[in-house]
Amino acid sequence: MIRPFGESALLVELGSAERAQALAASIRDNTIGGIVAVVPGAESVLVELDPWEIESERVAHALEGRLARTAELAPIGRLRRIPVIYGGEHGPDLADVAKLCGLTQAEVIERHAATELRVLFLGFAPGFAYLGGLPDELHVPRLATPRTRTPAGSVAIAGSMSGIYPADLPGGWRVIGRTSLVLFDPRGDPPAYLAPGDTVRFEPISG
């Protein structure tokens, strides 16, 4: 489904992060005339157009053609291993999460670290990756009152997703651990450790 999003953008709704990533990657590798930027979302791609060169209806038509072939694209990405110290001062919400899930703290850690998660898209802050694929038994609601400051490196969960705070940020996700990895460095190449399509595996280490 392709909808106009303002006079110089289109929202392409694909129904899954995997297809959205594949379409965004495909356009970045082999652009369609008139497209100036693509931004993947949870189930969609924002396609920004050069308003001077082309009418959006024409790009929409070219996109339809690309979409028909995109479903077959193989998943993209790498495996990224992330060392985490779980619980204690590094994971202040681990005990509550265990209670909410009806599990022991050790079982929460084991399930979180046993799952291969996938970077669905980045947003909220530079380097903040939304990681999908959290097992059902770890789905917990956000904090009723968000923290004004969640420390950089906090590994957190909310709903069906996990995430890592790349900087000190306000946040309502439940923090179960912490990593010392730098997730975003504006002078780095690339600046973010994670990119859409990456597979992520958390590895427990002892503090």
Binding site: R3, E7, L11, A42, S44, L122, G123, P186, P191, A192
Partner: protein
């Protein structure tokens, strides 16, 4: 070189276009909140559109020019040099040692371009300051008194502007969701108006729930669960999960960035074709520049 004497409530180094190419890694676009005014100030000073300049929020800035330079101020502020007022939207010469003062006016943001541009290192392709993440611009932060800013060299001629900017309702086109929701009626700009977005008070729109997070273009009008619409500006997050029933047209986004808390605003729906014509017209007004005549640039008072 320029020295910041008094920074005002919020002055930062910005360029016109920000970092549009790093959004897939979560980096917001940023850049001037009113990019049209920033480009105009640069053009008047003889710079390129995307050269770095100062974005001044609600006035209160005082600078000393250590070296002589032509400068231009665009946006809803008034400016004086050594206490002599300069005409609005004018280019003016500042001698070595002179003090430029920018005072509040009818708009939220002023753009002060100095010929040669402000020399800060580009990061991720832009000289703009990402104030929230703390990188880019001058040390990744708002300016403080005592900061020294290096100015590039310039051999271009400053130019006088003869164009205009539309007033009247802010024009909108449909967004991807709930296009039946109307923004008719008068709105008041709330106190939460910053570079990220402008929240509007008025009637409460129907709560629309959430949608899967999606990339947000400039000018998207989000409706969060409290029913108070927010027009998203330069520092908006890359993605958002609230429905977007409308988008402010590109030609008018900079006008939204000039609204101050308490200002009244109305919206008018236009077609996609009218939105593109408005953008072409805004570009034409930007190009309405000519070499300055004998009236000695923007001075309104005599001098020396």
């Amino acid at each position: 070189m320029i020295e910041v004497l008094v920074p005002g409530p919020l002055t930062s180094v910005q360029d016109a276009f920000g970092r549009p190419d790093w959004r897939h890694l979560g980096v917001p676009v940023g850049g001037a909140a009113d990019a049209w005014s920033a480009r105009l100030a640069n053009r008047m000073a003889g710079n390129s559109d995307n050269d770095a300049l100062l974005e001044i929020t609600l006035g209160g800035l005082e600078l000393r020019c250590e070296t002589a330079a032509n400068a231009a101020l665009v946006g809803g502020m008034s400016v004086s040099v050594d206490s002599l007022p300069v005409a609005a939207n004018a280019v003016f010469p500042a001698r070595a040692g002179s003090v430029i003062r920018v005072d509040p006016g009818s708009g939220a943001r002023g753009y002060l371009a100095v010929a040669g541009g402000i020399m800060v290192p580009p990061i991720l392709g832009s000289r703009s300051t990402d104030l929230r993440s703390g990188f880019g611009g001058h040390d990744g932060r708002a300016l403080r008194s005592g900061d020294l800013l290096e100015i590039g060299s310039s051999s271009t001629t400053p130019r006088r502007w003869t164009g205009s900017r539309p007033d009247g309702p802010i024009r909108i086109v449909p967004g991807p969701h709930a296009t039946g929701i109307s923004l008719d009626g008068e709105w008041t700009v709330g106190t939460e108006a910053d570079r990220t977005g402008v929240r509007l008070d008025g009637r409460r729109l129907e709560a629309l729930g959430e949608v899967p997070s999606m990339g947000l273009p400039l000018g998207a009008v989000q409706v969060p669960p409290d029913g108070r619409p927010i027009v998203m500006l330069a520092d908006r997050p890359v993605t958002g999960g609230y429905p977007v029933p409308a988008c402010v047209i590109r030609a008018d986004v900079g006008r939204v960035a000039q609204l101050r808390p308490g200002d009244k605003v109305t919206f008018a729906s236009v077609s996609l074709g009218e939105a593109r014509e408005a953008l072409a017209s805004a570009e034409a007004e930007l190009a309405a520049l000519e070499a300055p005549g004998d009236e000695n640039l923007g001075w309104t008072g005599s001098h020396e």
